[in-house]
Amino acid sequence: MLYPQVLRRRAVLALAAFAMQLVAAPSQAQLRLDITQGVRDAVPIAVVPFGGQAEGAPTEVASVVANDLRMSGRFAPLERRDIVARPTSGEEIRFEDWRLLRADFIVVGRVETDASGLAVSFELHNVRTGAPLLSERLPTTERGLRSTSHRVADLVFEKLTGLPGAFSTRIAYVAVDGRPPAQRYRLIVADADGYNPRTVADSTEPLMSPAWSPDGRSLAYVSFEGKASAIYVQRLSTGERVRVSARAGINGAPAWSPDGGRLALTLSREGNLDIYTLDLASQALTRVTTDEAIDTEPEWARDGESLYFTSDRAGSAQIYRVALDGARRAERVTFTNSYNARPRLSPDGKELAMVTLDRGGYRIAVMELASRNLRVLTTSAQDDSPSFAPNGAMLIYASRERGRGALAAVSADGAFHQRLSSDQGDVRDPAWSPIPPRG
């Protein structure tokens, strides 16, 4: 009785083993596995001091590049004291040294002087594989060394993140000095890292809401310089400016259409605040909203065919969207919190940054439009005026620090925060420029 049983069992097992071998045969050669997630760490990178420059030179290329990369929150440049070898070209790199320092990538380069002026040559290598990833030579001048350094950081950033670098961009903001009634308002444009602040408008009356033209050459802003509000468009290269709207009541919150041909703005000419569009060439004004509630802070959709805006038509501030053709019926976009305002669209048009009332504080949040998932990025109580970097990787916003306005930045995923120090007193209303055209 036992014997046939055993035989049968053996046979079954042998069959099963045979079947297993058949199935397992392909994976014998190699093991296959899937990776579905990663981490949000800063990439360790060595930025070696560039050759042809004395240490402590006014504009040290490597310092500017390392600082840019660090400020992006996506890179962790090696500390200068850890950088002992000083290769200035690819052949001089001993990769094993840098592997010991746990760098993943390395930037080396030098500033060359020739008859025609200066040039910055640099190379980017993968330390782990030794593979060369970038090798460029950028002509520059003594004065242009800083912006060339930002350009180097841009190229490295783009190669390693897949996003265009935004280090060569600028930020506009308003600084307020003094106390009422002797206050002074300045509209300032600075490099994205805060260097080279330059006053482009100056007034004893409030200046507000700077907005970059899509080509990055002009700013629209609100000025109360005639004791009443008016919207100006100013060309940065010449300082030439045009008053585009000075209608009775409030003229506020200008926003450029994607093609740069129109401005969306808020006017109170009919008694309460409504959204209008203004054709800059023809000065034709078109009313977009007619609701009796306050409608303000317009933001263009990427296709230029609809506007996002803030309205309190439902009792408290929420964000709505209205198409510019047809019935112009506004649809509500935000539902999560009791207060959502100041919509700003991400460069890819898929996300909306806003100020939200989150657990008792006005904070910066980003909502994914498709899913309506809202992620709150900041933790302070009075954050305002979010503005996406043109690569969408970060947002700059206004915050309060020791009772004064201050600027801060946060990565779009909320992982990296930084305060932008300012010696310009009370600062507010930041706006990040588009990526300037190159050529």
Binding site: I35, T36, G38, T129, A131, L133, T161, G162
Partner: protein
């Protein structure tokens, strides 16, 4: 797994029964072993204890038996010094008297000689008896010794026999256990061999795959350009210690940032974790990066 048990229930039960039986034998042998052991120990002691008793009765009999005392019971001395003086006085008496005295003396002499002879005979007899007793004692002693030796030999033989028997039983038990173990091991090996493919590719393989994936995921600094829809394959060669030897990019729809990041993820994860079962180790890995969001 339940299938495995069901299928193996009968042999498993058989094996369990066999083990129980062997356990019982072992227990019995152990009991016998413990009861037969003290005598063996005593027997060893007995070499000392048993050699004394045969000697003890012998010394006792030596003491009890009347020792021949010929030396101490020697006949009274003949006093030859007094005799001549008496004879001189008697010379003065009659010849008859003298003759009678002489006769008496002769008789007395004969008597004395007879007594002497008697005594000598008695002494000889005593000597003989003593010798006889000695012989008997010796014989008895020898007999006692012989008997003791015999008893000892018998005891030793019995102890030896018991020991041999219990040893044989233990050996038999050991043999039985060993053969049972061998059979069980053989059965296990057979089962393991039959199962080998399944075990490594299912349980252990899954775990190994998971460990590798987790290690690499922790090392992958995912660039912003790595979005859902990305799919990139790396062919990785690792040394037996897990050190990454080579990373080759296969099909990949990602940009340079993705390619560099995934390659470095594998290098950063080196040395890769080892599987629980070394047989699951695989030199060549095919790693597919496909983020879900």
């Amino acid at each position: 797994m339940p299938d495995f048990f069901r299928e193996h229930l009968r042999p498993l039960a058989g094996s369990a029964g066999l083990h129980l039986l062997l356990l019982a034998i072992l227990a019995g042998a152990a009991l016998r072993w413990t009861s037969s052991q003290p005598p063996v120990e005593l027997a060893i002691e007995g070499y000392v204890v048993d050699s004394a008793p045969p000697q003890r009765p012998a010394t006792k009999s030596q003491r009890v038996e009347p020792l021949p005392k010929p030396q101490s019971d020697s006949p009274p001395p003949p006093e030859p010094a007094a005799e001549p003086a008496a004879m001189r006085r008697e010379e003065d008496a009659s010849v008859a008297e003298r003759a009678a005295r002489e006769q008496l003396e002769t008789e007395q002499r004969a008597e004395r000689a007879a007594a002497e002879r008697q005594r000598a005979a008695e002494a000889a007899e005593a000597k003989r008896r003593a010798a006889e007793a000695e012989t008997r004692r010796k014989v008895a002693d020898d007999e006692a010794k012989r008997q003791a030796a015999e008893r000892e030999a018998k005891r030793k033989a019995e102890a030896e026999d018991a020991r041999r028997k219990s040893e044989a039983a233990a050996q038999a038990e050991r043999d039985a256990r060993q053969s049972a173990e061998r059979e069980a091991a053989l059965r296990r090996r057979l089962a393991a061999e039959e199962e080998a493919g399944a075990a490594v590719s299912a349980g252990v393989m899954d775990e190994y795959r998971r460990m590798l994936a987790q290690t690499i995921e922790r090392s992958w600094i995912r660039p912003p350009s790595a979005r859902a829809g990305l799919q990139c394959t790396l062919l990785v060669t690792q040394a037996p210690g897990g050190t990454v030897m080579d990373v080759t990019l296969g099909a990949c729809n990602g940009d340079a940032a993705v390619r560099e990041s995934i390659t470095n993820a594998v290098y950063r994860a080196s040395p890769l974790p080892a599987p629980r079962d070394p047989r699951a180790f695989e030199r060549r890995l095919e790693i597919v990066f496909k983020p879900t969001e």
